[in-house]
Symmetry: C2
Subunit: 242 residues, 2 copies
């Protein structure tokens, strides 16, 4: 059984939207932060991973939302590096409320990138062993993300200085900022997301201008893409309820 | 003596820039958050203030930065509602490192707004008494903020959905996002701010497009303004060092 790691967290007001619900990009940020905290606590911090010439990259998040935490609420953030194969690591995350009810789960697919060659490296024992993850043979596929086929609406965003993290590219959570912001305010005010699947294809750098586009499906799903020129850098599907 | 309130805080990576320094807008957000936490702990939460038809507004922040906290660092955030007069409340904030050294201080001028009339209300005893602030006669002026006289560079920003807080206007920290982002990346990478004074004149709402402009002074100071059409919504001066 993979080692579990949890932290208490009080949802700050400034991480909430105008209706006091936790912002979706922040939901991803706080979960990814605790995976970093677990790694550090097990002696396999990002700095240690860098000594092998490797860095973690995120390929996909599959988020399921029963209830979005609200401003001032105390929650428990949890994670475990569930299992892995030669190239991919699969991590589970969860957010519990004070009564122990599951509010949010997230499954994330990570890989290791060779920082010099800029291509995928294989998962090293030295890096993965401390998590006591299960080694599996098969490649797990995340949720299928349907592509945007007909654009309902688009908006351009310049990459901002603060969008760049210490990997010198746009932080993975920022893509969700652009994907949410392009939606109509009435939609955002009346609806809540119940699931988000986002797939990352290509990193984005400072100085680039991205286009965030979405397609409104009839079944309360929005399909999203973030493009730079001809490149589709990320795609997502979000399902919504009233 | 005004009651002091402190909280420990671990600087998350996702609140840091590409060089691992705490983002300036976040610095303001985490401090304002603890003033809200103090108010709640003393039974005078924002919700209680609203029962008088009033809401807190921020008029000015004067920030002095000896050293910006870095990712992973544990700091102590502190505040006290130092003193007040008929219309204004003056609050002190500080950030200490683990050895107790002062990294950052901030002085903020608050006022109470009559939410119906949209004009300033006077400071009520029921709201201020629990803080044990000193009542003073004089009007304290924050640092003088020099206006932009000749624009070096400007950039437009559309207000985003997540820029709006539960007061239904742009959160005060977002103005600093726009003010920082308009600067050259080389400047931002090589320099650190040593002081920031920001004065708020007019609220900004969803759907508006703002222009963030700055003037580069010869003495390592940048003067900033955020405008909507003819209105100057906020002005700031930032001093920098290498």
């Amino acid at each position: 059984m993979a080692k579990k790691y949890t932290e208490k967290y009080v949802i700050p007001s400034y991480e909430c939207d105008r209706s006091d619900y936790l912002k979706i990009p922040t939901l991803v940020k706080i979960l990814i932060q605790i995976s970093g905290n677990q790694s550090k606590s097990l002696g396999v911090s990002d700095a240690y991973v860098h000594t092998f010439g490797l860095g973690w990259i995120i390929l996909q998040h599959d988020i399921s939302i029963k209830r979005l935490p609200v401003a001032g609420e105390t929650v428990t953030l949890g994670t475990e590096a569930a299992n892995y194969n030669k190239f991919f690591c699969y991590r589970n995350f969860w957010i519990l409320d004070e009564e122990g009810n599951e509010c949010v789960t997230m499954e994330t697919t990570f890989a290791l990138m060779d920082l010099k060659e800029r291509k995928m490296g294989s998962v090293l024992d030295e890096i993965i062993a401390p998590f006591e993850s299960e080694k599996i043979k098969r490649i797990k596929r995340g949720e299928k993300v349907l592509p945007v086929e007909e654009i309902t609406q688009s908006k351009e965003y310049s990459v901002r200085y603060y969008d760049i993290d210490d990997n010198q590219h746009v932080n993975n959570a920022i893509y969700l900022d652009w994907m949410i912001d392009v939606l109509e305010i009435d939609w955002l005010t009346e609806k809540r997301p119940s699931s988000v699947s986002i797939k990352f294809n290509k990193e984005i750098r400072y100085g680039e201008v991205v286009t965030s586009s979405y397609q409104q499906d009839e079944d309360n799903t929005s399909r999203h893409q973030v493009t730079v020129g001809e490149d589709i850098c990320a795609e997502a599907n979000i399902t919504w309820h009233s």
